[in-house]
């Protein structure tokens, strides 16, 4: 079932239940990975994803058809993740940064590093980014989203988004290179 059909079912009160089930089947995985990349921890991501879909369910009657279903859902997921990240960032910015530096320096002492570990290091480096920058990086790098789509979701100009992405890439590289002693 395509987005248009799902939307038709969701907007009709009589068929909203069925439409929402189709919407869940189509998007729960994509939304989860999108949130998980930003939040990293599975349990936290699970809470955020559930909140996101509960909000979507409640918001369906007011959904405006000039917005795409995909864009609308990503906007809810992104806002929920951002709220979560900002809370966490305020609470333990220094703790996360210290932890990442410690992990990175360990890399120098390791004879080799496997793909999974590298992914973990990358995720830890991403975790040090400020919430907005992190969001832009995840949407571009992992979700492979176009700047125009991101502009619709985040309400930020393409130029500003490009700048954020470039800054994020440089910061992540610096952390990874320091850890691998390549800098």
């Amino acid at each position: 079932m395509n987005d248009k059909e799902i939307l038709m079912l969701c907007l009709d009160e009589k068929t909203r239940d069925i439409g929402f089930k189709h919407l869940l089947s189509a998007y729960s995985k994509k939304i989860y990975y999108h949130v998980r990349r930003m939040i990293n921890d599975h349990d936290d991501a699970n809470d955020v994803v559930q909140n996101c879909f509960i909000k979507a369910w409640k918001g369906l009657p007011n959904f405006r058809e000039d917005s795409q279903l995909f864009t609308w859902l990503y906007r809810i997921a992104t806002n929920e993740s951002l709220t979560f990240l900002q809370d966490r960032y305020r609470k333990n910015t220094s703790a996360v940064a210290m932890d990442t530096v410690a992990h990175s320096s360990q890399l120098v002492e390791e004879a080799w590093i496997d793909g999974e570990t590298l992914q973990e290091r990358l995720q830890e480096a991403i975790d040090t980014l400020p919430p907005k920058q992190k969001q832009v990086f995840v949407m571009r790098y992992f979700d492979e989203m176009k700047y125009e789509e991101m502009e619709n979701i985040l309400g930020t100009s393409t130029g500003a988004l490009k700048a954020s992405f470039h800054h994020a890439v440089k910061k992540i590289e610096t952390i990874l290179k320091d850890g691998l002693n390549l800098g």
Partner: protein, 201 residues
């Protein structure tokens, strides 16, 4: 999306970045069957939480004749439905999904009304073994002879199964017991065993 992937890789190259796009969701551990659980949890907190009991379909409230005819009609509806209701704009699935319980009930009734008695009769005859005997007793479309034949076949199957089980149990008994049997009883047993063997039981 793959086109966008090329753009992103090009952008990373221009930044002289060591980063390359990941091939998939590697590096993220997700519990087994997590997504099925996730969907159920969300449905429990949304759709099912709001569902009123009065909206639930109560199968027992449906008259028995409708239920039986519904079973028979389902096969025919599936066959004819797509042809009758296929439309370039909207699929049958969409039309059915939009119906509430009473509309669905009316739809089935209309479809049943459109089916001739001979079609229904033939369908029941063809699928008599797939329908519970108890339900068939309630319908007037199946003759007493057919019902008797089906019931007899079921009873025979149960009796044969019980007898087969009892023979298996006898085979499991201590071999010394055979010595205690008189010749006549032993001969009867062997005759019965040969008979079941001939029947392939």
């Amino acid at each position: 999306m793959s086109n966008e992937r090329e753009h992103i890789n090009k952008e990373l190259n221009e930044l002289e970045s060591m980063l390359h796009l990941p091939a998939n969701e590697e590096g993220l551990n997700v519990p087994i069957a997590y997504f099925e659980t996730l969907e159920n949890e969300i449905l429990n907190k949304t759709v099912y939480a709001e569902k009123e009991v009065s909206n639930a379909v109560k199968l027992r409230a449906i008259p028995l004749w409708k239920y039986i005819s519904g079973i028979a009609a389902t096969g025919l509806i599936l066959y004819f439905g797509l042809q009758m209701f296929a439309s370039p704009k909207e699929s049958l699935e969409m039309q059915l999904a939009k119906m509430n319980t009473s509309e669905l009930d009316n739809f089935i009734s209309q479809q049943i009304a459109a089916i001739s008695e001979s079609e229904l009769h033939n369908y029941l005859l063809d699928n008599v073994n797939d329908i519970e005997t108890v339900l068939l007793f309630e319908t007037e479309f199946i003759s007493d002879a057919t019902l008797e034949q089906k019931t007899t076949a079921e009873v025979n199957a149960q009796v044969l199964s019980a007898e087969k089980n009892s023979i298996i149990k006898v085979n499991l008994l201590d071999e010394n017991l055979l010595d205690q049997l008189d010749d006549e009883t032993l001969q009867d047993y062997l005759n019965n065993a040969a008979l079941f063997d001939d029947l392939g039981l």
